[in-house]
Amino acid sequence: MRTIKEAIVDRIDYFLSLPAFIWQVLFLWIPLTIIIVASFYSRSTGLTFSFYRELFTGAHARILMRSLVLAFCNALACLIVSYPIVYFISFRASRWKGLLVFLLTLPFWVNFLVHAYSWFFILERNGLLNKVLLSLHVISDPIHIINSLKAVAIVMFHAYLPYMILPLYIIFEKFDLRLIEASMDLGANRRETFWRVTFPLTLSGAKLGFFLVMGMSFGEYVIPQLMIGDKTFFVGTLISEYFILSRQFAVGSAFTCLSALVLFVLTLFVFIGFRALKKGVR
């Protein structure tokens, strides 16, 4: 017994660090492997591509396409809107900076489900938006936003905006303001300074935020499910349908792998796009 205790004390670093690594292996690597293996294995015929072949339908392609487009557009919209906001907070806000940053973090404390639920109060037929527009006589009939793709887009944009703002903000904060001074001293005007100094150096934050939002938007389950009245499948809702409702695990795994692959390909394209942007601006 004594030797074991001594051995533990001796190699305590190994002993203590094991759990974290075991966690990764057991709960990340093994499940991912199971998914991949399950997509190729059928109880009756062994190794097979049949589950993947089932996915080569117009329906599946449309669903994947829809989620991709939604994810990309959402990330793009978030980026375009976030960038000026972060620019303002970082460079122009001075006195209000602390308050503005605090106000940014507060929405995180409200569960995103509750956010989506709150949007019903605004977008519904008898909701705030319609009431305001009707009373201002801008429209004569209530506009129909809820239970449609428009509602999904709005709520997703709203939900992921903070996730784009924060990485950008972190990068902006690391930005050395003296570089702007230096650039102006060297003769560049404001616009040139922005495009040739500020923008390229903050691009890494934009990239991070973009990938974060795009990746999360792609697999999103709740917002599409709640806001579209269950009329359309997205990647997240279809995977849930396969695994929870109809329990077709093998096809579901194949679809999961396929979606992950498709997302990866899109990410690659966006990565190349950012590279080109960086080069172009230089």
Partner: protein, 359 residues
């Protein structure tokens, strides 16, 4: 040599130690269940939303028997969970009618001793003797509901109401409709509308059903399973395909909604109590059953949820005018009622949903 041996065994021992610790943590619920078994308790497996917690509390207080409620979300989950444990861990299960036959076939159920059930004679015969349990040996009908069209009377004050599924399928109507989020039910009424009563659908017929549903989708507001009454009472949809329970709930808030049973026929669901074959707590089970089928207890459940009761006496006492009265539903209309069942294979159903919802 000794040191190397010790070192190696520790590189095996260390990970093993942590693995066992983690496994112990993960499997701990089994341990607590093991201790639970000695208690005076029964375990029920039901659809969420089926049993009023108040009823359970009262039962526990009156008899001292603890009731553990477990929920399932889909019938596939029910089958999968029972498959794992072979039915052990649950005493009573409340499956939908179309799950009962698979359960019987797999040997998960125990025969019911009808003599121990004081209320058996009160069960309405229209709920007995159906295809899934012809001799009623394994299942006791508990609650049931019938599907139809919820109508906003005010909207149709100046328009004609057609007692047909056409109201929800015909694109010439300019309003939006609500549908259920269950492909089985949707297919049932689509096929009733197109072909009348069917047992199975051929591929050609399936295609026509698909075209009908795809055409309908443009004016479907939502496929839902929980907000039928809301769609109707908030005036978003003047017509909603819904179960009778939804209309009951809507009537609690407004009085300008009606329920229509179309002339082509309709579907109904029966939820039954079944006893798990692996259960050994017969006396407590029958005590519970006799309690929950008491007239006042079932009345309370009806008042709360709106599911129609199985007892003859209650059915004739309650005001079921919104259905057209029980003598209508169980009388001339009964031959047009069909237990909702799968018209095609599960895979074909999923593919149909996929085809509809991909667009």
């Amino acid at each position: 040599m000794n040191k190397v041996f010790v070192a190696i065994s520790l590189y095996v021992f260390f990970p093993l130690f942590w693995l066992v610790a983690i496994a112990g943590f993960l499997y701990s619920p089994y341990l607590s269940n093991f201790f639970k078994r000695d208690q005076r308790s029964i375990s029920i497996f039901a659809w969420s939303d089926m049993i009023d917690p108040d009823i359970i509390m009262n039962f526990e207080r009156e008899t001292g028997v603890k009731v553990f409620l477990n929920y399932y979300e889909s019938n596939e989950e029910l089958l999968a969970k029972l498959q794992f444990s072979g039915g052990a861990g649950y005493d009573l299960i409340i499956p939908s009618h179309y799950v009962v036959k698979p359960l019987i076939k797999r040997g998960f159920l125990k025969k019911i001793d009808k003599k121990s059930l004081g209320f058996w004679s009160q069960i309405d015969p229209h709920l007995l003797g159906h295809y899934y349990d012809p001799e009623d040996e394994y299942s006791i009908p508990y609650m049931w509901d019938v599907y139809g069209l919820g109508i906003n009377r005010q909207f149709f004050a100046d328009k004609k109401i057609n007692k047909s599924w056409q109201m929800v399928f015909d694109p010439s109507y300019k309003y939006r409709v609500g549908m259920t989020n269950d492909i089985r039910e949707v297919m049932d009424i689509a096929s009733l509308y197109l072909y009348g009563r069917m047992e199975k659908l051929q591929p050609v017929q399936l295609q026509k059903v698909k075209d009908l549903l795809l055409g309908q989708k443009k004016f479907v507001e939502a496929y839902t399973d929980l907000i039928f009454d809301f769609l109707l009472t908030s005036k978003i949809c003047p017509v909603v395909f819904m179960p009778s329970t939804a209309l009951y709930r809507a009537r609690r808030n407004v009085d300008w909604v009606d329920f229509i049973l179309p002339d082509e026929g309709s579907i109904f669901n029966i939820d039954s109590f079944v006893i798990s074959a692996k259960s050994s707590k017969d006396d407590m089970i029958y005590t519970f059953l006799n309690y929950i089928y008491k007239k006042d207890v079932i009345r309370k459940a009806y008042d709360f949820y709106g599911y129609l009761p199985p007892r003859k006496d209650l059915l004739h006492e309650l005001n079921l005018d919104y259905l057209g009265g029980i003598d209508f539903v169980f009388g001339p209309y009964f031959e047009k009622l069909q237990l909702s069942r799968a018209l095609v294979s599960r895979k074909q159903m999923t593919n149909l949903w996929l085809a509809i919802k991909a667009y």
